[in-house]
Subunit: 363 residues, 4 copies
């Protein structure tokens, strides 16, 4: 299915950027997990538009309602449905897109695939769809923390904006450091440079991309499956399903190809009762299964496709034409991508924790 | 499931590197496709060990048997089971691994996950498991060519071995050029350098990694799904499930983060009746759906973990120890990874072609 | 997943009888199907409480809202979310059930499974959950009629209430005949008897069950899969998933065991270009696949578990006790089960039609 | 997928009655379960042809080979592939079926669906396909007994052959009693009558059907899911997927429709710490979830379609014609259906036990 993800902690998102709203249904959630709207709202607020001067000014409170699956503050084990209404939709801003395809957007491919599209906004390709993911992930994190990984930390940050690269240590960076600045990076020295670049891009009607890095700490050993559902494969798929993501690498990634086997291998040693590795070029995953070291990965996000200048394009009628971007958009997706990346990581871990418990009786 | 992949063209692989054999069951294959052992054997031969002086000398014919699903040379629409026996297994070479974990292999994580492992080889983590994938993909390609994409081309090649980078044009490179050399690259100027480096590594008991690039040409418009099963997400997962793969990028990938939106966007124009893009930084996929341009992606493969020198490790009993690699292994996985990459691409495309036909009545 | 059904036309229902509401998400629906609230409401009205004097008096309009997936009156191909709010919930009527398990209800097993339950009503075990199914099936029927089976008829009726058996010919019965009476049977001679029996049962605080029969006419040949997903297996599962359903039989069913093979076999003959069978003890399905004859099946529904008299039971604290039913309930589920049966049949057919098109290019 | 079943204990069967063989791949099996060929062969021998004078004389040893997933006598947690070769295939006996459809067989529907069929036998519709199910179920039973239900008993028997009905108490009947006679019934008084009837039918070139009843004792409380994957729904689907099965009922089933709610409800009472029911018209399942009482269900099997007399039929070319059955077939499927029914029950229970452990941490 196009809009469902996960095998046991299974989420189904729905909703277009312009329409009745967006939401998610979570099936398979363990019962008796404490859950209230506030748990979910905290993460939605980190994702929502209008949160700072460098993101889209679309004015959405993104207030969520839990419609089912929770009773007297606890999950029931039955489906949890969460709804967020669309408020500040302005379809008139999209009138021109009715007949013209925005370059590097999904307009043309949706039309080609379905013969129809909701041209009043990005439809399902809008980042608004990720509301359902972030909401579901808030639940997933509570499941992980209460049942499987009490000390789990999932932290993502902006590693680079175009050529401005932050110096961040995945093993020690703190969540509060990331959240202390609106660009969500972990290196104080680059915060202002990144913000300035994003503002500059916006003022030029242009956009910019970059890299998000993420670390998962205190993950149980044994998550992930041999062969097709390797943990890095499921993480990679989850991340590459985010809007604007064009690349994923784990551990040493592409730069690891510059090393020889002798340089690249991670020697094992005992730290008390625990098997550890001296280096972590494996990125916390070996043979598709977590080894207890920090899981570290990076994602490439392309510059936002919507830019405020004239571009060559074609009409749905098959004629060459021109289009100038309108509507309210992020000049750089990265600050809002950070909670999305964390969300997808939480969803993948939670699903694999349940799978591990199913087959092996623990996680 | 750990060992199944695909929604409609669904494959289930099985088998360890040492044991009764390896194989695959394909469920959901359309009927009346011409299929014989030779169709499959051709691809298996490109994957098999011992095919050249720069790959593992393990002596396996990898001769396949079709056990079901084919009648009088045509597929029946029912499951196709394919079996390859293991012949040249030498479990004695792995005796020492019974109690010691090979660094950067799956030995430790399998043991931690399952409490048991087949130490006589790499078990499911062995590249031998990919026989089932390559065999299934040979069928997938026949389905694609006969039903969905008569001019489809799936071509992968070695883009780099460590720091030796081949100059290959994805839009024009030919399959015969790749197959003309044992390292499977597309740039005559780098063939000998790559071979020499691999040989040098092997003589030192060392190993080396690199990048494989792949192009999919003449893919129908409309393959891929919004949201979770974006075409790049499914391709990424498929590739990251290959042994030793640590990174995946599509189109402009990580380097695209150095561009602004104005530089990165792909303008549309009409070429006769067909919608085309002037550049292809999207890599043939927009909004998760193929747009008819060439799909181009790259994968990072780490250096082979098995090296012939002493390494620090631990025993299954929890003691620090040392291990020297033995057994027969590839000093560089890249030449044999090329057909595996093509195979995974074919499987993903075939599955999405069937999904497209299910929902939209064409593909 | 407990709350999802279907492979390609996939529905996920959610919601408890008392709470924010109930609903469904449909994923995989083909695009460009005409769809409005009225299409769905018609079927919901046949299912809703309070529709006649022989069903529960709970006062719910069951007015649905389409939240996504439809644009300008047509399906988009993306998930269709449908919401129905709960209005006339009276949790106080359930206060006593907080600590006592209702006999032959799901109270005890939910508590045993999850360690928690929403005691303010039947939770997910309530027939209210079927709102999502009926809504989704209204969409499924439009897909079937427009793409796969333009003359398809799905008609169910009450075959018997306890020992009152209706004489109905599955090959000729009309939908309007069934809908002409509140008990939804097809035999005018039994209508009043059935109504009288149901009223009598209610006046005694008792309840009654019976059999629903269903015919699917003008089903395309070729729907259903060999082995596990035989059409009768998927129909049977769908029906047995309805509340209170205890049995399913297709074609000759249990009575077919009284015949010999010579008596039971359905001879083939040609009717013009079409292969027909002289009898239809197969019930329209052979080898798990539809053969074009009418598909006929029957379901047993037990008497409603809620009765208005004192019954022996136990408390959640593990003590023997007594409980007298309260709340508003159907004395007989059959009249409202009829649209549920039709709904499940439509969902199964639609899913198999898409599966058939995926693999075989038609349906 | 047509040939896969189960969510977590997932089996994929393959193979035609005439061809390279038949088999199964089991994915998701917990590791460290003792398993040898003998464990599987015992059940295969109960299913195999030629085991007695009242079943088909086809001479097959049905000797199985475990190809993967087991190491040093224990399961590895990775896929278990099991192969049984076809030996006594006699395709020449089917020569006439090449162009003629056998009445009430799958010949016509397979041809209509796929445009091709393996006419040398029943293909996938042959009961030979169930070898894979029975083999997988032998593993499932070991998983259940060792991890989830140490005292579990799964016992099926022939309840009736046509109008000869056995008097068997599901609560007390013993496996050894069933296995003590070749017809596999539990009532000594009916054994000879049933055998005589079957022999009489065979001598007349005719066939006969009947009912199989099955009890599952000592099933853990809590197996099964609300809504679509109710335990009775999954059991029903599993049983209805068996060749020749036309009906399924659980607990009071169809006869329960003759009772009122007061008569039908099962009162709860405490037996020590355990919640019990005084009667068991629910058949051990309430709200789709096991309640710890015996699970009892019945299946209708039609008379074997192959009969040795001339029947009216049509040719694949669309002409009216006549066909006389040949080949070796069971005059009554019931004795061999008994182990198949037990097998399907074991597979369903094992899958639900793993699902239960995944979500709720126990089973």
């Amino acid at each position: 299915m196009s809009s469902s993800s996960g095998n046991l902690f299974r989420i189904s998102t729905w909703g277009e950027s312009h329409g009745g709203g967006v939401g998610v249904v979570i099936d398979g959630c363990p019962p008796q997990i404490d859950l209230c709207v506030g748990d979910i709202q905290t993460d939605l607020d980190r994702r929502k538009p209008g949160q700072s001067e460098i993101v889209t000014p679309r004015d959405e409170a993104d207030q969520c309602e839990i419609l089912s699956g929770v009773f007297e503050g606890k999950t029931l084990g039955t489906p949890i449905a969460i709804l967020v209404r669309n408020k500040d939709a302005r379809p008139e801003a999209y009138e021109e897109m009715k007949d013209k395809f925005r370059p590097s957007h999904a307009d043309y491919t949706y039309e080609a695939k379905y013969g129809i599209r909701n041209w009043q906004g990005g439809g399902r390709a809008s980042a608004r769809e990720t509301i359902g993911r972030v909401a579901a992930a808030a639940v997933a994190k509570k499941v992980l923390l209460s049942h499987f990984a009490p000390d789990l930390e999932i932290i993502a940050w902006v590693k680079s904006v175009r050529d401005i690269v932050a110096d961040v240590d995945p093993d020690t960076v703190k969540f509060s450091e990331i959240e202390s600045n609106i660009v969500r990076t972990g290196d104080p020295a680059t915060v202002d440079k990144m913000i300035d670049l994003i503002k500059e891009m916006r003022s030029e009607g242009n956009s910019v991309g970059g890299v998000v890095e993420c670390v998962l700490r205190q993950v149980p050993v044994g998550l992930g499956e041999p062969v097709f559902d390797k943990l890095e494969a499921d993480l990679g798929k989850a991340m590459l399903s985010l809007p604007a993501c064009k690349g994923f690498e784990v551990g040493s990634g592409f730069s690891g190809t510059q090393l020889t086997g002798k340089e690249h291998n991670d020697p094992f040693y005992m730290e008390g009762d625990r098997v550890r590795t001296r280096s972590n070029r494996s990125g916390g995953i070996q043979g598709g299964i977590s080894n207890g070291e920090n899981i570290v990965f990076r994602l490439a996000f392309k510059p936002t496709a919507t830019i405020m200048s004239a571009q060559e394009t074609v009409s749905s009628g098959g004629e060459d034409t021109e289009l100038t971007g309108r509507g309210r958009h992020d000049p750089c997706v990265l600050p809002r991508a950070v909670p999305m990346v964390e969300a997808m990581a939480a969803l993948v871990l939670c699903d694999h924790a349940l799978r591990q418990r199913a087959q092996n009786g623990q996680a």
